[in-house]
Symmetry: C2
Subunit: 334 residues, 2 copies
């Protein structure tokens, strides 16, 4: 067994590039008392990876020389704890590597599911982020209009499908005509606007004639600004991410803020998926139900090979994924 | 009896100036069936007056040729309704004029108080806006830090005094050393920062060493941006106004938004005082209590004469008032 990891060779000051990463041979880690040795199977690739390189957020900053942190699905290879046994599948904080160790109390044993990747997509961070943000902060009602940016992305696709299942009018925003068509045809949104075309504010008015009640914001910047113009009184803005602001360039704030927040009595609220751990079982139950009825379709964008993780992240930031992106480091155990 | 009114002669495209207004002789209005003829005694002067000139908000836009709308305290001069009698003091929507008429159901009979101007300041829009915004949206707890911009203004001064009464650490932001001293010495804030000095973000860190839990935002713009940097996790931003954005110049949005809203899980929410009419009695009871204990001191900035209303508003936008600004159109009836 050999072990490799991907470290940050140099912190980016502008757009992320392959040269900011390095693949290294490292010694196989040793599981100490109460620890487990884990084989990394699947790593979640998230826009948040990039934001961690900008400084301390809800976690410590990632610095040059560090292995990139990640949420991962792993197989237990060696266990010095009674919590999990060899062969168990667990979810945990990991790094971009083949093997890692963790204290036994920091890994969560996963149910056996037919497709392990679902533990990262619909039943993992993506699905739970969509569910908790939409239900707890957005609180959409049947008949209301829900607008979702990064609609072809991992979270946005589930937000829209959940909102459809709840009886809402659902409009997406995505980049390019292909993605927009896919959002409508594959994910079942009522409409999808291409933000690369000029006139986003007008286009939103056309496809949301009754205004927007809930805007699920994954991007920030000018798209947030346009969305605010379309909001109805007492609308809710679910602040989930700001991908447009992570990867270089001067940040641009929505210029109509806070004016429109006052006039329309809007509520904007941020969250992190782990804030709602206590409701995770509820989320899983609902998501399983909608998957079983076909109201939620699962799309995954799996890149093979640890060495391809940097490019998978760079591509995600450029918007070239459809559905939840992840890296398969090792095949599912049979 | 003669009647005059102040109209908008020309809508401003940049800063408001006296030439945008005109004083006109107009006929004495006639009270029709179920209407009342009212003598305007006191008119509230608010930053919102300026925002109404920018287009439709929560009310129709104010246009050239219109008399400026205002909230006013009036004396009933003639009554064709059983709801109020001649000599009653009422609050209502009015315009900048000596006399107006209103349907009987649109005026609210006021209690007899020793000082009528208190019905516009602490027991009027200013006090109620402070109370409802702080209590319902800000929800401060004893020991938390409350930051208030436009702290020497009508609303901000009450926000800080209420927060002190609740046991909070209270910090103001105001323009110029005189106002800042007044906010601390007269209103009892723990500290007050002069936003005209460079280094607001650093200054906030110094006087709010534990971070800010509630920011009551009356101004928007760069001050909001600085405040967001100081917010604690799960902090609340009460969006009450955006005076910095009303009077000319290109709007500037907080560049750290929505990034910090996500990372810190902030909640930003706008409101208008009339949203909380159902809780007005509760507000009045609490404000009366704090005034009676001396925990709230009432400061009013009264300008005499209808003809001086334009300058009173222009000065308010430039920040030259301490406490609630109003115009006395006619003396209190004895």
């Amino acid at each position: 067994m050999s072990n490799q990891q991907v470290i940050i060779a140099e912190l980016p000051t502008d757009s992320l590039e392959p040269r900011h990463f390095a693949l290294q041979d490292v010694p196989m880690p040793q599981a100490g008392p109460n620890e487990v040795l884990l084989k990394v199977l699947l790593m979640s690739i998230d826009a948040a990876n990039r934001s961690w390189m900008q400084g301390a957020t809800y976690r410590a900053a990632v610095n040059a020389g560090d292995a990139m942190p990640t949420y991962a699905i792993c197989e237990v290879v060696e266990s010095n704890t009674s919590r999990v046994a060899v062969g168990d599948i667990v979810a945990c904080e990991a790094v971009w590597a083949n093997y890692i160790t963790q204290p036994g109390h920091k890994v969560i044993k996963m149910p056996k599911v037919p497709t392990l990747s679902n533990l990262i997509s619909v039943f993992g961070i993506a699905g739970k982020t969509a569910f908790h943000g939409l239900m707890t902060i957005g609180q959409p009602l049947a008949g209301e209009t829900v607008l979702v940016s990064a609609a072809a992305g991992s979270v946005g696709g589930y937000v829209g499908q959940i909102a459809k299942a709840l009886g809402c009018h659902v409009v997406g925003i995505a980049g390019g005509p292909d993605k927009c068509r896919w959002v409508v045809e594959a994910l079942g949104f009522d409409a999808c606007i291409d933000y690369r075309e000029p006139g986003l504010t007008k286009a939103l008015r056309r496809v949301c004639p009754g205004g927007v009640d809930v805007y699920f914001d994954n991007v920030g910047g000018e798209i947030l600004e346009s969305a605010l113009f379309s909001m109805n009184e007492r609308g809710r803005v679910v602040c989930c991410g700001a991908i447009s602001q992570y990867d270089g360039g001067a940040p641009s704030g929505p210029r109509n803020l806070p004016g429109l927040v006052v006039v329309k009595r809007l509520r904007m609220e941020g969250f992190i998926v782990t804030d709602f751990v206590k409701d995770d079982a509820k989320a899983t139950r609902a998501l399983q139900h909608w998957v079983s009825t076909g109201q939620i379709k699962v799309f995954e964008d799996i890149v093979d090979g640890l060495e391809n993780a940097p490019q998978a992240l760079i591509g995600l930031l450029a918007g070239d994924n459809k559905g939840k992106r992840m890296v398969r480091v090792a095949p599912d155990p049979s």
